[in-house]
Assembly symmetry: D2
Homo-oligomer: 466 residues x 4
């Protein structure tokens, strides 16, 4: 509300009240000024009213909300349903243009501003999480497809190459994104060190030599993973990639929440080759599934990905992220990360007590600070006795029935063909782990109450089961 209109307000109610009220409106302008000039997470999160107010302003800046507009194009962002209008905050033009995923749209200044600002906010969030990167792109596709976009771009830069070297990690998407890009994965088998399943760098080097660096599009390494698998040694892989002049893409799906991974990636960036890092927006920032961050220090390369994307895209994942960053603020974001670290310690302590009681053990994987594995060595798995074998799968079923979601029971006995490749004991990240186990993750947003309930239900399920 401009000065003139505020003056008109003073003719309706007491001028004194209008003055104080206009201070509050000015305070919002100051918040927006900070946001637009610093382009960082606000120190304290915005309240919902402020966020909605800002979204309204941006919506009014999009042409589809112009009063008396005449739309004679083929795409004018007419929205049929009032519910759809409302839930999209009256914006409909999506993001991007045919030339570039992050290009501003002439018809949608507001939506474009949201896209640009969200990028800056995401960069700031990464900075707060200690990532030493200077370029970032938010794509409105989830991690898997984002990785494919990276691979497609790298392929276009190295047309003759067709192989992607991939240290084994038994999550289907990690492998599939290679296939989507019409490239050929070369599995680098892991190795077991004590409890830990980890990257076998020797085999990696060996394979590079075998295939020849010129035929290799990139190494696709992974950081966030289920114990006892630990994050790939990004520092060392980066050095190897540098040495052989191979591109290096890091699948850091849910690693932003973890400082150790940031350090590992920074080391890679500093001492070797790390071209592109990809993270999920939902797994790291508590938004619905649908977006991913592609980041690194190679501005030109990231620009190329952005320019590779053909046409417009959904603004929904960016909008969710924008609202969430404003709502969290810097303090909220750091608090969530701090809570996660504390919860991780708390979770381990809780499990320590239980594992002692039931003569099992927490797998010793200190380099994985998100996921925890617990051995299930006392549960019977007689291959010839289907019933008994079920002691372990039954544990999973019981937990599921108690509304425990996301724990994974690994019996170490499944061979499986994924994307045309046969894996021994698929799910365990290696051919032969020494014990069945169950994994749990301490992800951002997990509550102490959930940890307590899990501990209780796990103990009960284990005990009743034996």
């Amino acid at each position: 509300m401009n000065q003139q209109n505020l003056k008109l307000c003073s003719e309706i109610i007491d001028d004194k009240y209008v003055k104080i009220a206009s201070n509050s409106l000015n305070a919002k302008e100051k918040l927006f000024k900070l946001l637009l000039s610093q382009r960082q997470l606000p120190e304290e999160g915005f309240d919902d009213l402020t966020i909605e107010y800002l979204l309204n302003i941006f919506a009014i800046m999009d042409t589809n909300n112009f009063v008396n507009k005449v739309g004679v194009g083929e795409r004018e962002s007419r929205i049929f349903s009032a519910l759809v209008q409302k839930r999209n905050y009256y914006m409909g033009h999506g993001i991007g243009r045919s030339g570039d995923l992050i290009a501003s749209q002439p018809k949608a200044a507001g939506s474009s501003l949201i896209a640009k600002l969200t990028k800056h906010l995401a960069k700031d969030a990464l900075k707060l999480s200690n990532y030493q990167i200077n370029e970032l792109l938010i794509v409105p596709v989830a991690t898997g497809m984002a990785l494919s976009l990276c691979l497609l771009t790298l392929k276009s830069l190295k047309p003759q190459a067709k192989y992607v070297l991939w240290p084994r990690i038994d999550q289907k998407t990690c492998l599939k994104c290679i296939q989507t890009a019409n490239l050929i994965p070369i599995v680098i088998e892991t190795m077991i060190q004590d409890d830990v399943v980890t990257t076998n760098l020797d085999i990696l080097i060996q394979k590079i030599n075998e295939i020849g660096p010129d035929n290799i599009v990139c190494v696709l390494s992974t950081t966030s993973c289920f114990a006892p698998r630990i994050p790939d040694n990004i520092g060392e892989i980066a050095k190897i990639c540098k040495q052989f002049q191979i591109y290096h893409v890091v699948n850091n799906a849910y690693g932003i929440q973890c400082n150790k991974i940031a350090n590992s990636i920074n080391q890679g960036l500093a001492q070797g080759t790390v071209n592109l890092i990809v993270s999920s927006s939902d797994k790291n920032f508590m938004v619905p599934v649908g977006g991913a961050l592609i980041y690194g220090n190679d501005k030109k390369l990231i620009k190329q990905i952005s320019e590779l994307y053909p046409g417009r895209a959904s603004a929904a994942p960016i909008l969710d992220l924008f609202i969430t960053f404003l709502s969290m603020g810097r303090s909220g974001y750091l608090q969530l990360q701090k809570d996660r670290v504390e919860n991780y310690i708390y979770f381990k302590e809780k499990l320590q007590i239980i594992t002692q009681k039931i003569s099992e053990q927490i797998l010793n994987t200190p380099k994985n600070s998100i996921s925890i594995g617990i051995s299930l060595k006392n549960l019977k798995i007689d291959q010839n006795n289907q019933e008994e074998k079920n002691q372990i799968t039954k544990l999973g079923a019981i937990l599921y029935s108690k509304k425990v979601m996301g724990s994974r029971v690994i019996t170490n006995k499944k061979n499986k063909i994924v994307c045309g490749i046969e894996f021994k004991n698929y799910g365990s990240h290696c051919d032969n782990y020494f014990t069945p186990y169950i994994t749990v993750a301490c992800a951002i947003g997990l509550t102490k109450q959930e940890i307590d309930t899990f501990a209780q239900e796990f103990e009960k399920a284990y005990t009743q089961n034996t």
Copy 2:
């Protein structure tokens, strides 16, 4: 978004786009300028985005939304539930102060502006409906309680008086509002002229003389009513009130939608005494139940009602009205009224055809242009035969089961005690109407499709029933 911030936007996206976008923001400011300066219904209704934008601005003007506010009073409009916050558009201070229902609140400039503006918009709506009045108060209570507030105020101005003269109309609230004010109703029986049930002015005068004008708080007349009752003759009653110097309150519950009633009230205002007119906000403006308008030409008296109201009150009915007025605009409002008049004619034509088929008739009550009565004289009502008597009540039940709401079947045979007074044939507005009948109303918002379906269902129900 102020100029400085728009300039910052130009550093993020193309300046050209920001310029066009800022035109759109300015266009909103111009709409608001018109609203704040003219204080009339906008020519065209605002879209939902514009309304929400304006509501957000007003919300920010309320102290409970100030950032870093310290609230050490006993009422700081802290709202527990996010759903409640959202549905109240983050406003919570209600309206009014202890001194006056329409006083501005120091803690709630935005809410106060809404209250004041809604009053102006309602006055404009009345003007568009041809009401020649110059003062209006919106109260966050429905018609009945609003009438009680009027009566309590008049009583305070004439403390020795205790009677209210009330031309009979068989709607309970009309009578009860008198009782609520601790006053004594004197029923003025109606008279039947051909099909019409109407005011008996002779008895009215006779009763005034009997009781003595000094003992009479006011006459409470009624305009909007079910056929065959027709609106009280406001012009003549106003003259009588003027002659005897008695206050006159008009219960015009749902009459704003009808031009004939406006003319009748204007005549009363011009030629006699009409002190206060009361109308429902929901029945005339398509909002949820909860508010009423008190209006007339006696500014001082209406101010007294406003000052009589003790303390704060819910802003909800005013907010609903504010949004609705902005959404309708002048053109939407006039269209709705035009549609209603057309529908009334259409409804009558439809019923004409059916009544001829079934040898019944539309009761001839041209002065009632909202409600229509249809005789049910061929349906049997033998008092000794309960089963047959049910031919009429069965008609009602069948219609109800067909989701026909709001039609009323009057069998003319019920005596009833209401507020301590016994009425003969309660429901028919008179002691003895010559035929049973069914009434339907052609209210604002009714659709042609509903009329068609009613006609169809009525004919079917009637025919199957005989």
Copy 3:
């Protein structure tokens, strides 16, 4: 979604997933079963999805949402604006009927259920706050008007009486609600005991004798008040009322949050006469202004108030309350009360430290456990020196400019006519208090952070000012 439809779902997605999902739907039904059968605050608050789901069900139960409905009445709850529809959760029929404010509506089963359930939930909340009452009515008007409704009802039961005895409390609404009911207030001056301003029971008795019990409608006592005024001694007043057979209404505006007041009222109920107690919904339950609770043990009397109310009323205050009760749950509600008690102690400790520094003192009013007074005796008030006199009012102005809302500075020098009665030193609840002071309240929902900021700003403002 019924069994048949869930079965159809199983033909679309994996039956196993549908089974778990239907457990979740069943879990909601179980929550609703508890709500409908026990009619108490749920142990844990419902999440927003569950609340919206329940509101949707209730909305579908209202006739205005029936598919293919034909509405030929004058009030069919057609709602023009989609925003208004949404914010009212598609309900529009309000509450009550002409006969009774709490009567169920044939056209609005869902709305009626909400009204009835909210009453039960409010009763349960009062029980949790230790109120020993067995009947309650929620009225969609704020405290002042609710008190007027009580007085109008009592007046109707004792038509010859016209006085209300009212121990002085300098809040305008408390007095004005008497006037609204066309009754005459008799002010019972308070007395000062050390720091405390309290009820003068001797004068009360004396006035009863003077006026004669038969001429007195009731005593209107007050519990929640600003220090150094302490709550009226409800126990003793109740005994006096019993002795003289006078009705007794307690204005307990924001006292539900305070256990001491509950005890005092319970004592009154047990040992004497307490007919009606009135509390604000917004001040006690963190909803927007607009509703009040009328409660006590005289079921018949409360029914009479409900039946006195003429016609329908806004459902908005009830809906806000319903959502809030469901959202809080029993645990949330008790936690808020516990927090308030802790905050009160914390607030006092903070102020203790500051008052010592500045050589002022906290007024010793232990019986008031919501409001705290701080002397301002060292600030100059020379009546002939306007500038210096402003030391105190300036303090208020400074605090206000720092967004401190709700603190009240009392200079003890204002005479004022309220409702036709002249009060000496209006605002201080007595003719002559020994020191100017400032009051703050520790109300439900206040945060420690607000207390800290207040302490800081107060000290700064005081120090800079002297």
Copy 4:
């Protein structure tokens, strides 16, 4: 609300009212039954309440909304912001699994049902628009990326091929989607026949022979385009593709709204090879940008695309579409299409009158029934006179300043490099069109009022400009 709970309701309000209300709840179940069993657009659109009710049910079926759930996975759909929760209707798991974009999710039965149902509804919509196809996939990426997914899939089936034959159409995305898939576009120049710019089938055949069918991934033809370009002759191209055994992808971005295009595609499907057709969800169904439909008759191939997509994806575009389909219903959808056809005729008539006045002409392109071209031959374009040349671009600028969006002025003089290929007179779809012109589109949702305003503004801008 189940029977047991309805019975409990009967203990709270009149059983009679509960009975009617439960009919309304049952009516919703019946609507849902039809939806779940027939999986077609409902005959009449659902109202917003019904849609929200259904969405809430589905949300409750997702595990993230389970009460007392314990989430120890890395992705548990915890949503930080209440605004984000609300706008996603409390759902967050997105769609798809690593194995398949349309696979049901164990953690999200409700979201999965929405995804599956939306697919069926989209198929039904296509059927209503006369498309004779039997398989469909909705992808949460816009048309360009959807085309890339198709090309990537086809490439994986024909790994040795690397060319895409592409009849020239000057929209960047159409070309770029080929590049994204790391394929090489071969431009098939158009030819001019009278006013029309159309496919040059001879050159197409010639190029196939030149390059060799085995080296060609597919022909990528286009239907919806700006006049004077007309849709590619799908029937003939399909025959050619069949003859040479080449895949054929049709870019039918906004052609679903047009019957002629449907017929052309059906012909292609019947008589030749049409493997995949891609359409925008926003341009055809009035939702925000973000989704596309891939459809055809080759179930296996479409399944392969679905399986190619790596990992999860945003559910937002699907949710928008689901809500919109339910809200439109069959009658609404057909009405929109009917309106568009009428508007097209109306638009042409309006322009006929104006073009005669200004001695210009409507380009005669009857096969393009969406876009209309108007010659601007009288406006001066002297290449050496920048100022005069601007007569045409000025026209565009004037229209833009009058809030006319989406009209395109083509001056026929721009050479441009797009995706590494140089095009003569880019924008005009051919090397040398005989006149400059302006195009407008008559897209779904355009209103007569917009047409009128355009006509007025165009005439004014043209006249003032000459």
